[in-house]
Structure formats: structure tokens, C-alpha cells
């Protein structure tokens, strides 16, 4: 290790001093815990989701699922190289989109339901138009967004023409799909970006990263507005609270946490009763009271966010659950797993 430049050392010291200050500041603001505040609230019933349907069709690990804005259709992406758009009500496939690369890691449905985007180890993001078909009858490929140096780990549509992606090269990219150009591109984290969640008003978003932090961003800016510490391992997934003031995060360190944006700190820590699983994905119910986290052991855990307690566990998958997605109306939970299944929980 070369000798540390005194100037750099000074800066490091300054940062460390600031971190100390944050701690004090946070402590000062933490005048009570969420449990204390919510201790007198009524208990909520044990979550009554049951595995109602299995969507059959994928023949390899399924890596990602996302609901469309209509709460009825969802898209899943699997290592068998297919995107499948499902009508969750009939459990029928609406469309099968064969991909050029089988290594899909993430999928996203535009809120309008007109487009789906996917990407993965092919280091690009591909956008398909669901309503138009190409010559061979599959959904038309509208855009191939190139220029990543790492695999695509997350993407979300702001609307039909704007897309935000996070990737393994630590970058966050904003795309204008109309023109097919990158409007912004910046280093977001000190590690792979693993999860991305848009705020309910679509003006800000949260990213979770392998660097153990989560960050809050404005859709117009390329510097983060806030940064949230606490997790001890990769933050695999983040999910905005529907009130837009808080968000939940799920991590490899076997915990899920709730951070408040306005008080700029962690306000709750959720742990499964037996510490035997890391969390891959999380979702919050419409009222923000239930937190659902999928575990690598194949169960979905539910927590009472207010009283900070474990609320139930749902078994069904036989292998790691890779992703869960709650329909926008909060009624149906879709989960995808390495056991090649897509399950609907109602």
C-alpha cells in the first residue's frame, strides 16, 4: 500500500468526522422507535395469501417478474430465453417473446402496458412493443439500448417513453425511448446496482446496491439526494412506501429494513424468526402495513411494518425466489423462482 497522501488523509478524516456527526444527528432525531409509537395499534391479521395459481411455461430459472399498471397482466423473464406476458386471471400466456440472449436478469412492464423492457448478461436493455408484431408474429423489438459495461440488474419505466436502468457496472442510465438515446448516465453506487423503485409520484426513485447502501435520486439529477446506510450486505431490492416518504429494503444480510426519507435514517429492522435466509426481493402492501420479502430458501416472509414483527411465512417454491411483484391494486402477488415456476399468491 503506497503512503497515503496527506491531503487525501485529511479528506478521509473529514468524512469520518462527518459520519460521526450523522450518527449523533440521527440519534438526536431518533426520539422514539417505530415500535413504541405503534405499540398501541391493533394487530393485523396473519397474512392470508395462498398459492392460488402456478403459471406454467418457463423451462429454466425465472429471474424476474413485473406487473403492468392494469393489475392483470404481468411479464416474467427466464433463463430459457423467453419473456412471457401472462394474463394472471386466466393464467394464460398472452405473448411469448423469444430473446436474443437467454441471460435475462430483469424485466419491466410500462405502467400503460404498452411496452416491456428486459436486460441482463447481454449488457444491454431491450424494449419490446407489446401491441405491435414483427414479421414473425412476435412482439416488435423497438429499442436496443447499448453501452453498458455490466449486466443489467434493474429497469423501470417512468412512462412509455422514458426508462431508468441500473446495472452491474454501477451505473444508472436514463433513456429517452422515443429517440433511443441516453439522456443521463452516471455512477450511482460503489457496487453493482441491484434494485430500483420509483416513487408513487414518479419524481424520485430509490436504488439499492451491492455496496450495502440505498440512495435516493431525483429523476432530473445525476447526484443523489440522500444516502441510507445500515445493511451489512448487499441490498438486493428496494420498494417505495406508497406514501412516498419511506421505503423498505431487502438484503442478503437476512434482514429487511424500513428507512424514512424525511428523518433520513433507518426506522425499523425486520428479521425472520430463524435466521436462515437472505432476502432477494421485497414489496409493500397498499397501506404500507405489510412488508413481503422473498427469501433465498424459497419462502415468502411477511412482516408487520408498524409493530415490527414477523407476521407469517408462505411456502410453496422449492428453490430460491428471485423476484416478487405486487399488483398495483395490491391484491395479487406474483413470485418467480429458480424452480422454474411463476406463482400467484392471493
Amino acid at each position: 500500500m503506497p503512503k497515503v497522501d496527506p491531503e487525501i488523509q485529511k479528506l478521509y478524516d473529514e468524512i469520518n468526522g462527518m459520519i460521526e456527526k450523522f450518527r449523533e444527528d440521527q440519534k438526536a432525531k431518533a426520539d422514539c422507535t417505530l415500535q413504541e409509537k405503534c405499540g398501541d395499534m391493533g394487530d393485523i391479521p396473519k397474512i392470508r395469501l395462498a398459492p392460488k395459481k402456478v403459471l406454467k411455461g418457463h423451462i429454466n430459472k425465472v429471474n424476474s417478474v413485473h406487473f403492468a399498471g392494469d393489475s392483470r397482466h404481468c411479464v416474467t423473464g427466464s433463463l430459457d430465453g423467453k419473456l412471457i406476458i401472462w394474463d394472471t386471471w386466466t393464467a394464460n400466456k398472452v405473448q411469448i417473446i423469444p430473446l436474443r440472449s437467454a441471460w435475462v436478469m430483469t424485466v419491466a412492464f410500462s405502467p400503460s402496458g404498452n411496452f416491456v423492457a428486459c436486460g441482463g448478461m447481454d449488457n444491454q436493455c431491450t424494449v419490446y412493443d407489446v401491441n405491435n408484431r414483427d414479421a414473425s408474429g412476435v412482439a416488435k423489438l423497438t429499442r436496443e439500448l447499448l453501452g453498458y459495461e455490466g449486466f443489467l440488474s434493474s429497469c423501470r419505466f417512468l412512462d412509455d417513453t422514458h426508462l431508468i436502468t441500473g446495472s452491474g457496472d454501477m451505473k444508472i442510465c436514463h433513456w429517452d425511448l422515443e429517440k433511443g438515446v441516453k439522456t443521463m448516465d452516471f455512477n450511482g453506487h460503489a457496487g453493482d446496482i441491484a434494485g430500483l423503485s420509483l416513487s408513487p409520484d414518479m419524481n424520485t426513485y430509490i436504488t439499492g446496491s451491492v455496496d450495502k447502501t440505498a440512495k435516493l435520486w431525483d429523476v432530473r439529477e445525476d447526484v443523489h439526494k440522500q444516502m441510507f446506510f445500515g445493511h451489512e450486505m448487499d441490498v438486493n431490492s428496494v420498494c417505495y412506501h406508497p406514501n412516498g416518504m419511506a421505503f423498505a429494503s431487502a438484503s442478503e444480510d437476512q434482514t429487511a429494513r424500513m428507512y424514512d426519507i424525511r428523518s433520513d435514517q433507518q426506522i425499523a429492522l425486520y428479521e425472520p424468526p430463524q435466521k436462515n435466509t437472505g432476502f432477494t426481493s421485497c414489496a409493500l402492501s397498499t397501506s404500507g402495513r405489510y412488508l413481503l420479502c422473498s427469501g433465498i430458501e424459497g419462502n415468502i416472509h411477511s412482516f408487520d411494518t408498524m409493530k415490527v414483527c414477523h407476521n407469517g411465512m408462505m411456502a410453496g417454491h422449492e428453490n430460491r425466489i428471485t423476484c416478487i411483484s405486487l399488483s398495483p391494486n395490491g391484491m395479487c402477488l406474483a413470485s418467480t423462482s429458480w424452480d422454474q415456476q411463476v406463482r400467484l399468491w392471493l
Binding site: R100, F151, R289
Partner: protein, 775 residues
């Protein structure tokens, strides 16, 4: 992987490096006798190079495999010196090669000490002499396979890497076999007391038949290859000598080549006298060449039998191999320990060992049926009752789950089913041999799988018939490896010939264990592959130094700049006013209280859940706005956002505003929102339109905005860079605020809203709260 175009170049570069290293290594190994490279693996690298690996499971391991060669070799030659980067090379990689790695430190140790162990030296020489015939025949076999590869290679000779590669293959196969032959005598020596000797020696003579190719062709083919004159010539030397092995001189030469490795192995056995056979198998599994695969397995099986019949103490042997295992991988140990799987494996293995204990374990027996004998099996019911009795397990369901987990990792397996699970009945199960345990970090190659499947097709037993999915896989693999299919076929053929020589019962056991091994690593569709880790994470663990992910990312070009940036950001953080947690909690609580009625998990919805009742009423109701439930109307009162989100609410609100003559506010705000989502090409035009319509001095629908906001908007619209889509944000925010403060509360108080609510109340009778959580 194939499509990862950006990767390919780098990968090739790495392969080239790995190859170069490998060549060096194999050269030294010929001279120094340290060799434990697996011919098959190398050929797989060739496959990668040709871009033929698109098999799904493959990618998990292939890059690491390439990467990892280097630490391996380093480990063999000098255990201690390792570059950090290489060490971090791999969690995955290590898994790939652990069986190979197993023998390394032991060997390195041997190298150190071999000088002062002349006695053993002699002993081995004797052994080799006595087994002379055997040595010859095996070498002949190698020669034939080698030639095939070379012939294949000639087709592609213009490709530099591939030609290098094939040379390595040649050399390696040769050396592999030499080590192998060396191993045989030593093992025989070590296990003289056991019956193993006969088993081990039997297979070799049969191979003779396959050796039919003339040696000369090899010499010609190999020598022209550039750079590698050193190793290729030595390789050729070995080949030559072995092929015409009748001459004593040549045999001596051969012995010399063989000597060091045999010493080593001998020494390993000497080190571990307590668990001779298991260990010998373990160490030779280190030297494991694909050809000796069968034999190792056989030895393991032997030791396994011994365990069963009380000859050896199973814990001692496996513990020992565990120790060597962990000692061996010391350079990558930390990574290894980190892997959650390893911890789990250790626990499971402890239990499986208990199960296999002679008196207290699950009773293993040979079941005799009419005309048939089923060796070393136990029933599912036996197993479950043993678990219930011996482990802290409460009920049968839990025991079954536990047994299922053991089975899914391949520690126990049903004797005639590809699905690795356990039923609580009379179905027969068998223990997997420790050699195949997942803790050995198998990451078997597709070529191995191809050889295995190919071999299965050669045995015309019904019980060995390929399942449908296996046949499909075989076809896929054949396509993928078409170029070296001949090689695979020959390997399979020789393995199957070895197998045919075995005792019938033993063969049954072996076949089933091998099948179970592949059931774990290439599970049938619908079964879970338990041996893999998340590919996203694998990427990051530095497994791909040249790859994507942040593993090898540069810290910063300019640390000072970076740090200053961080500091400014942190300063912002300090300056930001934050609210107290109690306030934050209150916000969450109030939100919950407002919305719990709409949370499906807490309150059942007005309309039946479409998924549960098979009626799409809910979605239909959303589309046709005739009827709006009271609950929906109520939501409008929560916030203006809620009101505007609901098309019906928006419509009502618009009507109200029209009455109040302030509809333009809503229109302005909405046009701004719409504009923001428009394509860039239309933005400019739209901005002008909005400006003219709402903000310009003589606008037809002038909105009530303060002069400051208008001024800001004017500046933005007329800015030299052209207007951007956020130019009206301030004004729009102002208008929104105005509506929220003024019109919206008035709307909520208006008769219009009240009427609407009453109207909807009449239409929809309230649904009782089923769960009693509403307060």
C-alpha cells in the same frame, strides 16, 4: 455466454494466458512429475474458445474455470505464493476444480520431502516394474485418444489459441495417464491387504483393444506446433516409449517419468495409514483424469463397502479427507468458508456419517428378490424412523422434509428414480459415496456429462436406458461438441469397458451412484439444482476479473476529486433538515389508518377478488365509470393526488372547477404533466402552445400564477439553449398548490361531492368487514 460479445475478447485473452501457463505447467509436470490436470477440462476450454458453450448451467462455471487454472497451478508448484487477484479469482472457480485441488498441498509437501525418502522411492519403482504390462497398455490407450484430438485439431490449425490448446491437451492426456498408471501400483501397494488390488488392476488390460493408431502420426502432428517444442517433445517421448513398451530401456525411461508422482501418492498413503483406501482414492481423485474417474469411484466404492462391512471407520476416513480438503484449499479457503453451501454441506455430511455408522446408523442391506439382488439399500421408512429417533425432529413431515433436503443435495438417492426426494415407504434408497458429495465442489463439465450419457447408451440394460430429457441433452451435447465427439465417444467406450469387467452387484451400485451424481448436477426438468449460486453474485465475487460487475472496478481516477465530491454531498446531508422519527412514524401511522381500508390484505375489497371468484367484475367496473363505489369516492378526499388519479374523480373535480371558473388551473397543470412525457421532438412546440394558452400576457385561459413564477417560466421558455421539459415546473407546482389549498377543500365541502357520495352509497351496500381489523 456466447452472446456476451464484449466478454468474448477478454475471455479469449484469458484463455490464452491460462493456456500459456498451462503449457508451462505441464512441461514442468512432465519433468517434475507434478501433474493433476484433467484432459477433459482443457478440451472444454477449447469449447469455450469456439463459442460452443451455450448450455445453461454452463456459464456459472465456465469463466471461473478458465480464470482459475492459474491459482491451481500455482498451488501445485508453490503453495504459498499467490497473487491476491488470483486468489479472489474464486469462489466459483474453486468449486469447479476442488477435486483437482485436493491433492495439491499434499503433493507439494511430497516434493519437499521426496528427496529424503529413498526407501519409498525404491518401493515404488518396484511396483511400477511389476505392473509394467499394465502401464504399457494404458499408455497405448492414451495414445489413441490423443491422436484423435490432434487430428481434429489439424482442421483448425490456423487458430493459434486452439492449436496451443490442443497441444496442451495432448500433453496432458499423456501425463494424466502416466500418473494414473503410477497411481495404480501405489494404490496396490497401499492396499495390498484389501481386495482392491484386483479390482484396480483388472480394468486396464481391456483397454488394449482400443489402441490401434500408429504413434508416428502423433509425433508428426505435435512437433510442428510453435512455442511448445519443449513440452511436445517430452510428450512425444513418453508416448513413444509407452507405445513400444516391450523394450526394457524404454520402460525404464517411462519409469523415470512416472517416478515422482508415484512417490507422492505413496507418501500420501503413508501419511494417512488409518484410512488407506479412502484416502488413496481421494488423492488419486486429485490426479483425477477423466479416464481414472471410474477407477477412483471404484475405490471409493470399495472403501464404502468396507465401511458397510465394518472394515474401516467411516468417520475417520472422511474426516481425514475433510482435513486435507480444507488444508488444500488454504489459498482460497476464506472464500470457501464464506459460501453458505459449504457450511450446510458440512452439517449434512456430519449427519450422513452418523446415518452410515455401522451399528447406530440406518441399516443397509442387500435385498434378495426373485432372480435379482439389490445391494446396499435401505427403505425410506427406515430412514424416516431413524431420523425421528436420532435427530431433534418433531414429526414425520419435518423428517420427510429433512430427508428431502439430504436427497436433493445428493447424499442419499432413490435407486431407480431421477427425482431426488424421499418417500416414507418401502422405496429403496442408497447412500452416495463421499467422492461424489457436493462438498467436493464438483462443477462438472458438459464434456463429462456427454461422456456419461454416451456411456449409458452403450449399455443395453433397461435400467440404464436414457430418460427422455437425458436423450434430449445427449442430442444437444452431441451437436455442441460435434468436433470432438469422437474423443468423447472413445472415452465413454473405454469407461464402459472398464465397467463391464466389474462385479455385477458392484456395478449396479456404481451405476446408480453415478446416475445420482448427475441427477444432482444436471437435474431433470422440474427438479431443483442445489449446487449453484446466484449468477449475479458470482459475477461480483471477483470471479471475473475481466468481467462485468463492480468486482474489479477502479476506485477512482482522482481520489481527491472523488472525496471532495463525497464531502460536498455529505455536507448537504448535514444541512438538510430532518424530522424526528416520531413524526415519521406518525406519518406512516396516519397513512395506514387512511388506507387500511384499501389494503387487500387487511380489508376485503368491495368487489369480489377476480382471481378468486373467476369474475372480472372488478376490472370491468374500473373501465366503465357508471358506478363508483363509496369507498372509491372516499379515497378522493384523502388527497388531491388520489382524486386526480381516479378518472371519475378527475371528471367530477373538473366539473366542479368549471362551475367555479377555475378549470384552466387544472388544464394547465395537466398539460404540463402531459408535456413532460412527450417525445423530445414535440416538446418545443408544446411548450410554446402552453405558454400561449395559459401564461402569455394575453392568454385565453390565463392561470392565476404569481409574477415571479411567470417570470421564471418566461426565462426558461426563451432560454438560449431552448426550453426544456421542466420549464413550467415552478408555475405548475404553484397552480397545483393553489388548487390543493383552495379549490380542492371547497370541492370536498361542496354539495356536489356529498351528493355523489350519497348516491354511490345507495347503490352499493357496504360489505361487512370479515376480519375485524377496521377500527
Amino acid at each position: 455466454m456466447v452472446t456476451m460479445s464484449t466478454e468474448v475478447d477478454k475471455t479469449q485473452a484469458t484463455i490464452a494466458n491460462a493456456m500459456a501457463q498451462k503449457v508451462e505447467n505441464s512441461t514442468t509436470s512432465l519433468n517434475g512429475g507434478v501433474e493433476r490436470e484433467d484432459g477433459v477440462e482443457v478440451t472444454t476450454c477449447g469449447g469455450l474458445n469456439n463459442g460452443s458453450l451455450n448450455f445453461a448451467e454452463k456459464v456459472d462455471s465456465e469463466k471461473p474455470t478458465v480464470d482459475h487454472k492459474s491459482p491451481q497451478h500455482d498451488g501445485a508448484q508453490e503453495n504459498q505464493k499467490k497473487e491476491d487477484t488470483e486468489v479472489t479469482g474464486g469462489h466459483m472457480a474453486k468449486e469447479t476444480e476442488l477435486p483437482v485441488a485436493n491433492a495439491c498441498p499434499a503433493k507439494a509437501k511430497e516434493e519437499d520431502s521426496s528427496n529424503d525418502t529413498p526407501n519409498e522411492d525404491k518401493g515404488t519403482t518396484n511396483c511400477v516394474n511389476t505392473e509394467k504390462e499394465q502401464t504399457e497398455t494404458t499408455s497405448c490407450d492414451t495414445k489413441s485418444t490423443t491422436t484423435t484430438t490432434i487430428i481434429n485439431n489439424n482442421n483448425n490449425n490456423n487458430n493459434n489459441i486452439s492449436s496451443k490448446l490442443e497441444t496442451v491437451t495432448t500433453v496432458q492426456i499423456t501425463t494424466t495417464t502416466t500418473t494414473e498408471t503410477a497411481t495404480t501400483p501405489t494404490n496396490t501397494a497401499a492396499n495390498q491387504s484389501s481386495d482392491n488390488a484386483t479390482d484396480i488392476t483388472t480394468p486396464t488390460p481391456t483397454i488394449t483393444t482400443t489402441a490401434a493408431t500408429p504413434t508416428t502420426s502423433i509425433t508428426q502432428n505435435t512437433s510442428p506446433t510453435p512455442n511448445k517444442s519443449n513440452c511436445s517433445s517430452s510428450a512425444t517421448a513418453t508416448l513413444k516409449s509407452s507405445s513400444s513398451g516391450t523394450s526394457t530401456q524404454q520402460t525404464t525411461a517411462q519409469q523415470q517419468t512416472l517416478l515422482p508422482s508415484s512417490i507422492q501418492i505413496n507418501k500420501v498413503n503413508a501419511n494417512a495409514p488409518t484410512s488407506s483406501s479412502a484416502n488413496a482414492a481421494g488423492s488419486s481423485s486429485g490426479t483425477n483424469a477423466s479416464g481414472s474417474h471410474q477407477r477412483n469411484q471404484q475405490q471409493q466404492q470399495q472403501s464404502h463397502h468396507h465401511q458397510g462391512s465394518g472394515g474401516q471407520q467411516p468417520p475417520s476416513s472422511s474426516q481425514h479427507s475433510m482435513q486435507t480438503h480444507s488444508g488444500n484449499v488454504n489459498h482460497s479457503k476464506n472464500k470457501n468458508e464464506d459460501a453458505p453451501n459449504i457450511l450446510v454441506y458440512k452439517k449434512m455430511e456430519a449427519i450422513v456419517e452418523k446415518m452410515q455408522a455401522e451399528s447406530t446408523g440406518v441399516s443397509v442391506r442387500t435385498v434378495k428378490g426373485f432372480m435379482t439382488k439389490v445391494p446396499s439399500v435401505f427403505t425410506g421408512a427406515d430412514l424416516i424412523s431413524w431420523i425421528l429417533k436420532n435427530l431433534d425432529v418433531e414429526d414425520v413431515t419435518e423428517a420427510l422434509h429433512f430427508a428431502h433436503l439430504l436427497a436433493s443435495h445428493g447424499y442419499i438417492f432413490p435407486i431407480d428414480d431421477h427425482q431426488l426426494t424421499v418417500k416414507n415407504d418401502g422405496t429403496f434408497y442408497r447412500f452416495q459415496t463421499p467422492y461424489f458429495w457436493p462438498s467436493n465442489c464438483w462443477e462438472p463439465e458438459n464434456t463429462d456429462y456427454a461422456v456419461y450419457l454416451c456411456k449409458r447408451t452403450m449399455q443395453n440394460k433397461t435400467r440404464l436406458e436414457l430418460a427422455d430429457y437425458e436423450a434430449e441433452n445427449l442430442a444437444k451435447l452431441q451437436k455442441m461438441f460435434s468436433r470432438k465427439w469422437e474423443f468423447i465417444f472413445m472415452q465413454a467406450e473405454s469407461q464402459s469397458k472398464v465397467a463391464k469387467k466389474r462385479d455385477k452387484l458392484e456395478r449396479k451400485v456404481l451405476d446408480s451412484q453415478e446416475r445420482a451424481f448427475w441427477d444432482v448436477h444436471r437435474p431433470m426438468p422440474g427438479c431443483v439444482n442445489t449446487t449453484e449460486i446466484d449468477i449475479k453474485k458470482a459475477y461480483r465475487r471477483g470471479a471475473s476479473s475481466h468481467g462485468t460487475g463492480s468486482g474489479g472496478a477502479s476506485v477512482a481516477k482522482n481520489p481527491i476529486e472523488l472525496l471532495t465530491r463525497i464531502i460536498t454531498l455529505r455536507k448537504q446531508k448535514l444541512e438538510r433538515r430532518t424530522i424526528k422519527v416520531s413524526k415519521a412514524a406518525e406519518a406512516l401511522v396516519s397513512y395506514y389508518e387512511q388506507y387500511n381500508e384499501f389494503d387487500y390484505f387487511i380489508t376485503s375489497p368491495d368487489l369480489p377478488n377476480p382471481w378468486q371468484t373467476d369474475s372480472t367484475e372488478m376490472w370491468d367496473a374500473e373501465k366503465n365509470s357508471k358506478e363508483v363505489s363509496m369507498r372509491r369516492c372516499k379515497r378522493w378526499a384523502f388527497s388531491m393526488r388520489e382524486l386526480l388519479k381516479d378518472p371519475m374523480g378527475r371528471e367530477q373535480f373538473a366539473k366542479f372547477l368549471e362551475k367555479e371558473y377555475s378549470y384552466e388551473n387544472l388544464l394547465f397543470w395537466e398539460s404540463v404533466q402531459e408535456m413532460k412525457a412527450l417525445p423530445q421532438s414535440e416538446i418545443k412546440e408544446t411548450i410554446q402552445r402552453i405558454w400561449q394558452e395559459f401564461l402569455a400576457p394575453d392568454a385565453p385561459k390565463a392561470v392565476n400564477v404569481d409574477s415571479k413564477s411567470v417570470e421564471l417560466a418566461r426565462e426558461a421558455v426563451n432560454s438560449p439553449n431552448g426550453p426544456n421539459r421542466w420549464c413550467f415546473d415552478v408555475a405548475a407546482a404553484h397552480v397545483y398548490h393553489l388548487m390543493e389549498r383552495d379549490s380542492y377543500p371547497r370541492y370536498l365541502r361542496s354539495d356536489m361531492y356529498k351528493d355523489y357520495i350519497n348516491c354511490s352509497r345507495k347503490k352499493i351496500k357496504s360489505i361487512p368487514n370479515l376480519f375485524g381489523v377496521k377500527r
